[in-house]
């Protein structure tokens, strides 16, 4: 089963429980040993694992380019406004409804921002995430466009497995 790792800002116990109850993926809450630690320590630890990080910290890559390892499980940033877990959960639910492959996709070395109406996808091999592509939710071909963009990025670089 696909695993996803929460950061401290997304570490809402209720959200994790609801996701895990659906049994479509496994949500890992932030380990206590990483709670309240500096960004570099948290990133170095989590990026050495297999589960993509789900966070609302939309500057996490920009602020810590030196700690983005070249082989990583991927980072998914939820751009919620306001930045509450409830809003984050609503945006994730919308994305999941638009992209049924969310829990079978290999997100390794992928950086994705999810907003209300679109996603932004980039390769994540260092701190440079500015050469990605936005893909709007509207239109029936959203899943195929997202799959295509990820496949193109994957061709440029082999990815990790990303399973639990």
């Amino acid at each position: 089963m696909k695993c996803f790792q929460l950061d401290q800002c997304s570490n809402h116990s209720g959200f994790a429980e609801r996701c895990n109850r659906q049994a479509l993926c496994m949500i890992k809450r932030l380990p206590d040993r990483l709670k309240d630690r500096d960004d570099d320590i948290v990133l170095t630890d989590l990026l050495s694992k297999d589960a993509p990080i789900v966070t609302m910290d939309f500057t996490i890559v920009y602020d810590n380019p030196a700690y983005i390892s070249p082989d990583n499980p991927g980072i998914i940033v939820i751009k919620a406004r306001p930045n509450s877990a409830k809003k984050m959960e609503a945006i994730i639910a919308k994305f999941k409804s638009k992209f049924s492959d969310w829990n079978s996709t290999d997100w390794s070395n992928i950086y994705m921002e999810i907003e209300e109406t679109e996603v932004y996808v980039s390769r994540l091999i260092d701190g440079n995430i500015d050469s990605g592509k936005p893909i709007a939710f509207d239109g029936d071909d959203f899943p195929s466009r997202l799959r295509l963009v990820i496949a193109e990025m994957r061709r440029e670089r082999p990815m990790l497995s990303g399973s639990c």
Binding site: Q8, C9, N11, H12, S13, G14, K35, D36, R37, D38, D39, D40, V42, M56, D57, T59, I60, Y62, D63, N64, A80, P82, N83, S84, A85, K86, K87
Partner: protein
């Protein structure tokens, strides 16, 4: 009259008038620390409030900032320098958003495993900081 040394940070001003009374007041315009104003300039910058009202506003403002200093911090190594609850990686911004989306402090504290008292003090500090007249 001169702004206090910390004026750029705290927006607090010391006014010494003829009778030697010292008042805390905030200018309607942002001034530079150390900037010297004559009485007419100064009078044009503050709202026409009573001495007691000004003292009350700035006492609350001062306590508010002190409270926030106790409970919040800015650390470039945590959340890239976005203000966080002291000792945590939990931003003040998110704390406010979570409070707006919840039934209260205890619920947020429980779900995110953070100190409820820190959240309460943060709200008290913000409340006091905002308790002053501001320019439209």
């Amino acid at each position: 009259m001169a702004l206090s040394e910390n004026a750029a940070e705290t927006v607090l001003v010391i006014w010494e008038d003829d009778s030697g009374t010292r008042l805390w007041a905030a200018p309607e315009e942002r001034l530079s620390a150390g900037q010297i104003l004559d009485q007419n300039e100064w009078a044009s910058l503050i709202k026409p409030l009573s001495t007691r009202a000004l003292e009350w506003y700035f006492e609350c403002n001062f306590i508010g900032y002190e409270t926030l200093r106790e409970v919040a911090e800015i650390n470039p190594r945590r959340r890239g320098g976005v203000p966080v609850l002291k000792g945590t990686r939990f931003t003040i911004s998110q704390a406010l958003a979570e409070l707006a989306d919840s039934s209260g402090v205890n619920e947020v504290a429980q779900h995110f495993d953070i100190d409820a008292n820190a959240l309460k003090e943060m709200l008290e500090g913000l409340s006091l900081v905002l308790m002053q007249p501001l320019r439209k």
